[in-house]
């Protein structure tokens, strides 16, 4: 097994110690950081994503792999200065204004990052302007919003309205998620996708990026 395959397998196993060691070794061998990321880390994370989707592994397995991925990225960071890592796309994400539930949003961010997307996490209780300002500033491909209460869901509609006003609508896709939401509600407010979980968020983002 070459070092990248080994790295990928250790990542799948959520073995942070092995991933740290192998990433350091790969750098020492002179492998380019973008190769280590693409062929080792993201490749491993993709397998993790597929297995999770097929119910072969559980959420904590995914999260352990994500922690290992983070540790590897910390090692690679200094070697990436001035270089642009190829990303699958950019997403601005947050929990809408008036809502403080962020576990779901955090899990979605982890899944998207694992799949190679750049995620700009605005946190919770995020005002509509912040979503749109940040998407505009960073040229994000999508805005992702989370709401866990029926009383905070309407904030999503305001973000869509503001995106329309600023000419982002249609260019920047809008993804919504959270327990009380439905696909019908998403359609009604003009969002591009309702996502039941992190895996479906990755799938929809890939669709958008591909088309």
């Amino acid at each position: 097994m070459d070092i990248l395959e080994e790295l990928s397998a250790s990542l799948e196993a959520g073995d942070t110690a092995a991933v740290t060691r192998l990433t350091t070794e790969a750098v020492a061998q002179g492998l380019a950081p973008e190769i280590i990321t693409g062929h080792g880390l993201v490749a491993g994370m993709n397998v993790v994503g597929q297995k999770f989707k097929a119910h072969e592994i559980f959420l904590p397995d995914v999260l352990l792999a994500a922690r290992a991925m983070h540790a590897a990225m910390e090692i690679l960071k200094p070697h990436l200065v001035g270089k642009q890592l190829p990303t699958a796309g950019k997403v601005v994400i947050g929990t809408v204004q008036g809502d403080l539930h962020d576990i779901g949003k955090n899990l979605v961010s982890i899944m998207l990052r694992g799949a190679g997307f750049e995620v700009i996490d605005l946190g919770k209780d995020v005002a509509p302007e912040r979503f749109v300002d940040e998407a505009e500033k960073t040229g994000a491909d999508a805005i992702g919003m989370s709401a866990l209460l029926t009383t905070t869901m309407p904030m999503m509609k305001e973000v869509v309205a503001l995106a329309k006003k600023r000419g982002l609508y249609g260019k920047t896709r809008i993804l919504v998620g959270g327990a009380p939401l439905t696909a019908e509600y998403a359609e009604e407010i003009g969002a591009d996708a309702y996502c039941f979980d992190g895996t479906s968020a990755v799938d929809r983002m890939r669709e958008f990026a591909g088309g």
Partner: protein, 186 residues
């Protein structure tokens, strides 16, 4: 201490509870609790919280990239909040005079009882004494908190058909387990 559970409950008459139930007038036209509380033998408003520290710990774990530990602590804390609510229900019920057979608790935001009823519930119960506050969007802080009403009465009042309009989008159907538990109570 990571979880510092605190709870409060207050007995309430059917008439006074009627106003809390009505809340801001936003309930679904029919909700199971409506038919249940009117036939009850005892009612109490309650609120429980695990406190702020546990939520802070969950955030800290996520911030330090200990995602699995963070997610597991989050689920454990949610489950603990539910257990704390069950324990308040038992305490209230055990203090009641005999004459009722069963009990069940209901929370605003579930099964047709609109979440905005939190406003009247908070005005009446004042759970601020145990450190819970309510935001304009009816969100309780600390996050791991539960509020509602405990209903005690004859078994039959708790049995209903889960075919209300809002049931069509319900993913959990938890009422079925709750009704089965009531049927099994002796």
């Amino acid at each position: 201490m990571l979880a510092a559970p605190r709870s409060v409950f207050m007995e309430i008459t059917r008439r006074d509870f009627g106003a809390v139930f009505e809340g801001e007038g936003l309930n679904d036209s029919e909700a199971p609790l409506g038919g249940i509380y009117e036939r009850s033998d005892g009612l109490a408003l309650f609120a429980v919280t695990l406190g702020r520290a546990v939520s802070r710990q969950i955030t800290d774990l996520f911030d330090s990239h200990e995602y699995a530990a963070g997610a597991m602590l989050d689920s454990t804390a949610s489950e603990s909040a539910e257990l704390a609510a069950t324990s308040v229900e038992r305490t209230f019920v055990s203090g009641l005079d005999a004459g009722f057979e069963a009990s069940m608790s209901f929370s605003p935001g579930y099964c047709g009882w609109h979440i905005s009823a939190q406003k009247k519930l908070f005005e009446t119960l004042q759970p601020v004494d145990i450190g819970i506050t309510l935001t304009d969007t009816f969100l309780m802080q600390p996050l791991k908190s539960i509020s509602g009403v405990i209903v005690a009465g004859r078994k039959e009042i708790f049995i209903f058909d889960d075919n209300f309009e809002f049931c069509s989008t319900c993913r959990t159907r938890t009422c079925r387990d709750r009704m089965n538990a009531i049927k099994k109570q002796v």
